[in-house]
Symmetry: C2
Subunit: 226 residues, 2 copies
DNA sequence: CGCCGTTTATTTACAGCGTAAACTTACAAC
DNA sequence: GTTGTAAGTTTACGCTGTAAATAAACGGCG
């Protein structure tokens, strides 16, 4: 059980982790919706139903993968922050990174944020991983408030982090279903919101970050006044 | 072809529309991921493969359903606006309605905003329906800008609509994957962002709308200054 | 060491899925 | 009426997730 590898050919030794590994490996070859338990099992060299010794169902396996990917995502966000930069800049960088992750690691992003089939599969492990991803966002919001001399409260901090995450997530998920292309194609929105070039992405997220920063600061200040 | 109903038992007469109807009907009985072409076809009284005379594949059928649902969604949003109210109030109402729709019509919401399997299935009909849903959002943003004496530009209008839609969409989709419950459970965010009661929803969206309004106005004003 | 319960694998099997192919029926136009 | 086309049918294929019964190896105890 503790051994990473088992020499006998019958018992795999660490099938649970191996399945998650295999999932990620095969993901680079074919999209998530074509990944079957059978392919996974055969890639690991095990019978299809062996999976059920470690996961209640396919969705439970996916949850384990999600948790792993959320750490990958959190690392990605972290690596795009620079403590020497201003909070505004970092907020902008974070939201751009959020979006770019959904492009560079499209498969990963989709899996991370797809709905769990049943709520029982929302494990503590998954939640903890999710909170790790949120941390950099919230920290940056705190830095922003401090930078503007606004006293930190759970409300200010939470509202900022919530708004920031939601905006980045909303932009990104709308973009993946081609809403931006449609709205810009119909001249509803200015062309940079098409998000179809490096420059457009940068400009759009700078604009959105300005909106967010101004909004969060204004809300925080008015909360103090009360 | 033009006839809504055909008396012969062989040719259905209007199978295309009937399939979409059946999809919506069956949706109230079982969730979308359990809806098979076979069930749909048998509910309409037709062989499973008859579907392929009208839709390229299952995803194409789903696209037609999406378009119908988007109009339903747009109606819902429209009905929660009141031209006699202030733009701020309407913006708040719109985002609450956005969220509530995802609760009251969970199945519908999921279908509307799920990713199309192939881009060919993003029909003009679907895009047009999407733009209809965006209209009320953008109109309200325009009213907001006018109300504050800010000259309308495609940029102001588009940025506001984009930010507004993204924020509402982000909040809603994050909530459906239980992010709010997690963040509030871990005391990361204040409890009203759990969004688990009427009062919490109202307060949270009022707060978020304040952020958004302040941000959009500030961004629009600074754009004028340049 | 030998026994034995538990864990982890295997084989087999089932019901269901999306959809391709070949065939049939009905309608519409000449 | 004949004929081409649109819209149905039947049959079949390969695939899916997963339940059930079975077999193998591990871990601990006498």
């Amino acid at each position: 059980m503790q051994n990473p590898k088992n020499l006998s050919s019958y018992h795999h030794g660490n099938l649970k982790a191996a399945l998650v590994d295999a999932y990620l490996e095969l993901l680079s070859q074919s999209p998530a919706e074509k990944l079957s338990l059978r392919k996974l099992a055969s890639h690991v060299g095990v019978a299809p139903t062996a999976v059920y010794n470690h996961f209640a169902d396919k969705d439970a396996l996916t949850t384990a993968v999600k948790a792993r990917l959320l750490h990958h995502f959190a690392d990605y966000l972290d690596s795009h922050c620079d403590p020497d930069e201003s909070p505004e800049t970092n907020l902008s960088r974070l939201s751009k990174a959020y979006f770019r992750y959904s492009i560079e690691h499209q498969q990963f992003f989709q899996i991370i944020f797809q709905q769990p089939k049943v709520i029982e599969n929302v494990t503590d492990e998954l939640i903890a991983a999710g909170m790790r991803a949120e941390e950099q966002l919230r920290k940056t919001v705190v830095a922003l408030l401090e930078h503007h001399g606004i006293p930190i409260s759970q409300y200010n901090e939470g509202l900022g982090a919530f708004a920031c995450w939601s905006l980045a997530h909303g932009v990104t998920t709308l973009a993946t279903i081609h809403v931006n292309r449609a709205a810009c194609g119909f001249n509803r929105w200015p062309p940079q919101f098409m998000l179809d070039s490096e420059a457009a992405v940068n400009q759009a997220f700078d604009d959105l970050t300005r909106v967010l920063v101004a909004g969060v600061l204004a809300a925080a200040r008015s909360e103090i006044a009360n």
